[in-house]
Structures are given as structure tokens and as C-alpha cells.
């Protein structure tokens, strides 16, 4: 099809000419999604480890919530974050709406359940193998969580990569809370949505292929780090 050829030619042209707007959009996408992934991991991994190793009242409910929130539609989350951060909302005083901070917040909330649920599974498998030793050594729970996280770190890299993939690919939340403002909150996915709405399918597809290439590079780095850690 002509559009495909056109798109790849277009994408190639944008990349080799070092298009300044494209670079800006790519860097913001990475900044937002990498930050969201780091925060989501900092909160979600310990939560996953806690859920795997500890017993407390209402754990069943927390598990159910985390599993359900994995399926949260990004646009619904975007609306909730919008209503919180709006000047008419409870967090309006932060003045975060239509800034990268709002986008980071939305993506963090979006992917934290994924990170927590997947890491719970990874750690749960490990925990069942050596739970007795932990208990016989009377290790306090926070050391227990820390040790398990460190031991499972290679698998947890994949969990982080899954969270990142969800963050960088979503458009529903960031377009609502970021507003797709040129030079300020425009990221890859919102730029793709914009070009699609202008009917410029070739440019939209070109941006899409660049986004996938970036995801490929990030995953290659993650995989490489993982293998180095394993050996």
C-alpha cells in the first residue's frame, strides 16, 4: 500500500534530518513514561512483595482491587486525574493540570497496579520456596521484602518493562490531563492522535513506527541489563 511506503519514507526523513519538534516530543514521551515507571516501581514493587509475603486483614480486598485496577481504561483514569487537578477540583492549588507533572501522575497511577500485581506473582513463587527459612530465622518483614526484591531483580526488570510499555503506549489519560499542548505536553501518542484527526495518516504512521523503534531500544537495554545481572 502506498501509505505504508510513504510513512516509512517520512519516518526515515524525520529521523535523519533530526527534526527538532520530533526530538522534543520523543524526549518528553521518554521523560514522562520513564519517570512514571520509576515511581510506579518504587511504590508497586514493595506493595507486590508485601502482598506476596504478609498476611493481614483485608488482603483479599487489596488483591482484588489491584487486579481490577490493572484493567482501568486510561481515559477513565485521565478523567479522574483531570477532575482532581482541575481548578474546580480538590488539588487545583497544585497548578499541575496541563503540565508534564499531571501526565506523570496519571501514568504512575495507571501502571502501579500492573507492577504490583506482576511483582506479587513473581515474588509469591519465590516465597513459597523459602518461606520456612525466613520464618525460622525470625527476619523482620521489611528486610524480608528487601531481600526478596533483590533476589528476584532479574524477573522484576520484566515487570518494569511491562509497566513502561503500558505507559508509553497509552493516549487516553495523557491527552486529557496534558491537553496535547504544542511544545509543552505533546507526546508521541497524542501527536499520533492529532495527525490521525488531521487525516495525515502517513505522518501518524511514521510517528508510530518511531515510537515502536524507541520501545524496541528501551526493551533491548532492559533485556541486556537483565542478562548481565543473571551472569
Amino acid at each position: 500500500m502506498q501509505t505504508f511506503q510513504q510513512s516509512f519514507a517520512h519516518a526515515w526523513h524525520l529521523v535523519v534530518t533530526g527534526d527538532a519538534t520530533l526530538l522534543e516530543i520523543v524526549l518528553l514521551s521518554l521523560r514522562v513514561s520513564v519517570t512514571a515507571t520509576l515511581i510506579a516501581c518504587a511504590l508497586g514493587l514493595p506493595l507486590g512483595a508485601l502482598l506476596a509475603t504478609q498476611n493481614f486483614r483485608g488482603k483479599w480486598l487489596v488483591n482484588l482491587l489491584v487486579n481490577t485496577l490493572m484493567g482501568m481504561p486510561p481515559v477513565v483514569l485521565g478523567l479522574i486525574v483531570y477532575m482532581m487537578l482541575s481548578n474546580a477540583g480538590p488539588l487545583g492549588w497544585l497548578q499541575w493540570l496541563y503540565t508534564p507533572g499531571a501526565m506523570i501522575l496519571a501514568q504512575t497511577v495507571l501502571i502501579m497496579p500492573i507492577v504490583a500485581a506482576l511483582s506479587r506473582q513473581v515474588i509469591d513463587d519465590r516465597w513459597s520456596e523459602c518461606r520456612e527459612q525466613f520464618q525460622s530465622l525470625c527476619i523482620p518483614w521489611h528486610r524480608c521484602v528487601f531481600t526478596l526484591l533483590r533476589d528476584c531483580q532479574t524477573s522484576l526488570f520484566t515487570v518494569g518493562a511491562a509497566g513502561f510499555a503500558r505507559a508509553i503506549s497509552e493516549v487516553g489519560a495523557v491527552i486529557v490531563v496534558g491537553g496535547n499542548i504544542n511544545h509543552l505536553t505533546r507526546v508521541m501518542t497524542t501527536a499520533i492522535a492529532l495527525e490521525t484527526s488531521k487525516g495525515d495518516l502517513a505522518l501518524a504512521l511514521a510517528l508510530g513506527s518511531i515510537l515502536m523503534t524507541i520501545a524496541l531500544i528501551v526493551n533491548a537495554v532492559v533485556l541486556g541489563t537483565r542478562q548481565r545481572l543473571q551472569s
Binding site: 481548578n87 474546580a88 508534564p100 523459602c130 531481600t147 491537553g179 487525516g199
Partner: protein, 296 residues
């Protein structure tokens, strides 16, 4: 013994020997690094000078008008105008939530209501263009031969040719509903048969219409700027009732204390004054003028 068990034993053994300082120093440094990184990543990019938030309809943004106007305004005033381009309905709702300084949309009745409810200071006419009906090359309903828009829409309804409606409470959608009403067609009854509501923006609806071989109503600017036309073309235009008026309103600082009223008013004065109006008139796409200034 697995690596896990080794590290576990090590953790257990070393526990009592570690002093408080040994543990807290790297932790403190780690915390400092994390907080600095977060502060850097969260902060908005350093924008030099003042900025203004414009809640706008999509057609003005998609037509490229802002990329032409706003750099000139920045040069003139030093103010960076940031545009959030959504449908008119959503733009008005966002502005009612105080999320914006200036509102630029095209649904006069809704704009007047916005001002009457106290959300806006005053409504100014800014510019106009017109709506057109686009459809497939073959024109199965025969709109090309229609005398007026009412007749054109009646022909679509009678031949049950597919019509794609925005269905999103936008300015274009509101206009379209008025036109159907004038043609005595109850869209609620036929919705889902030949009348199909996409519930999406103008661009998405045009993509759908092209895909379905449907007719649709669009503002001229979006159509001229739209690149995925394939075999669609304008099949009806030029009726007086297809007039499309754009208005600009300052969000009311009495309702929304954070509104940058002085900066916003200065921007509106510039748009509706001679320099802004002349620039709007001079903006063309492929040699065609897209908007006609008519501020009083």
C-alpha cells in the same frame, strides 16, 4: 544452597553488626538523589516569560491558524499562548472548571449562555467561515443539484444515504442538529440506521465518513486541511445558513480567581483589533483564505 538463601543468611548475620550510621548514609544519599531527580523530572519546562492558556475548538487549531498567529503575538507581547484544542462542548466545560484563561469556540448560543451564567466576562465576535457538506464522489443522494441546505439534507434522509454525525455536542454537531430540525428530520429516530453518530472529533468523523462512503457536515477550514480525503469532495456549499461564527471570551476572574485577566484581555484586544484581524484575513492554505475577520 541457592543464591537466595545465601543472601538471606548474609542479611540475617550482618543485621546486628551494622551500626545505624553505616546504613543511613547511603540511604540518605539515595533519597537525596531520588528527590532531586523527581523534582527535575516533575518541574514544567522553563518557559521564559508569561503564558496564557487558551481553550479552543479543534478547527482553528487543525487549520494551522494558531501556528501562524501565535508566534506573531509572542513577538508582539512576549506572551506564550498555550492551546488546548478540544471540541467546543468540552472546551466550554473545561473553561467552566476554570481550566483556562481564554475561550475560543464556535457555538454562539452556548457562548452566550456561558457568559450569562457568569463564567465569561464578555463575548466578542472574532471571525467566521462556513460549513460545507462533504460526501462521496458519486453523490448518490444528489446533493450537487440541491438548491438549499434543507433540500440537501432532505435528499439524504429520503434516499437513506449514510450520514456521519459528530454526535459529541460540539459546535459543528449543534449546527448540524439545527439543520436537521429545519429539514424536519428526527435524528433520534433514525440514529443507528443511515444516520450514524461517531461521538468523535471532526477529524475522526471525517476519517469515518471517508471509510463508510458517508456524507458529513464539516467546517471548511478542517476540510481544506484534511489530508485523507480519498474520493470525497464538497457536495454542498454556499447557503446563508451554513455561516460559522467564531467567538472569543475571557474567563471570568470573579468566578475563577486564578485567571490571568489582564494578559487574557490584552490577547483578546489584539485578536479583535486591527493587527489580529489583518493577520486572520491574511492566513491562507493552498492559496485559499480560511477565516474572515468580523470583530466589531
Amino acid at each position: 544452597m541457592s543464591r537466595m538463601q545465601l543472601s538471606l543468611l548474609e542479611a540475617h548475620r550482618s543485621e546486628p553488626q551494622r551500626s545505624q550510621e553505616q546504613r543511613s548514609e547511603p540511604q540518605r544519599r539515595l533519597l537525596a538523589t531520588i528527590s532531586t531527580t523527581l523534582a527535575l523530572l516533575f518541574s514544567a519546562p522553563g518557559l521564559a516569560g508569561e503564558s496564557l492558556l487558551l481553550q479552543s475548538t479543534t478547527s482553528t487549531a487543525n487549520s494551522g491558524l494558531y501556528e501562524f498567529l501565535l508566534p506573531q503575538y509572542k513577538q508582539h507581547s512576549g506572551v506564550q499562548v498555550n492551546v488546548v484544542a478540544v471540541g467546543t462542548g468540552q472546551a466550554i466545560r473545561n473553561a467552566s472548571n476554570c481550566d483556562g484563561d481564554v475561550l475560543l469556540v464556535h457555538a454562539t448560543a452556548a457562548e452566550e449562555k456561558f457568559v450569562a451564567e457568569g463564567f465569561g466576562v464578555e463575548r466578542h465576535d472574532l471571525m467566521y467561515n462556513d460549513f460545507v457538506v462533504v460526501g462521496p464522489q458519486m453523490d448518490p443522494a444528489g446533493l450537487l443539484a440541491a438548491d438549499n441546505v434543507t433540500q440537501a439534507l432532505t435528499r439524504i434522509a429520503e434516499s437513506k444515504a449514510i450520514f456521519a454525525s459528530r454526535g459529541d455536542n460540539s459546535g459543528t454537531h449543534k449546527k448540524e442538529l439545527q439543520l436537521w430540525q429545519a429539514a424536519s428530520v428526527n435524528t433520534e429516530v433514525v440514529s443507528g440506521s443511515w444516520y450514524r453518530e461517531t461521538g468523535a472529533g471532526m477529524g475522526a468523523t471525517l476519517n469515518t465518513a471517508v471509510g463508510m462512503g458517508a456524507y458529513t457536515l464539516t467546517d471548511r477550514a478542517t476540510w481544506l486541511n484534511f489530508k485523507n480525503r480519498q474520493h470525497h469532495r464538497i457536495v454542498f456549499e454556499g447557503d446563508q445558513t451554513l455561516f460559522n461564527q467564531y467567538g472569543v471570551i475571557l474567563v471570568n476572574p470573579a468566578k475563577c480567581p486564578r485567571v490571568k485577566s489582564a494578559t487574557g484581555q490584552a490577547f483578546i484586544d489584539w485578536l479583535t483589533g486591527t493587527p489580529g484581524q489583518q493577520l486572520i484575513a491574511s492566513y491562507t492554505l493552498n492559496g485559499k483564505q480560511l477565516f474572515y475577520p468580523n470583530a466589531n
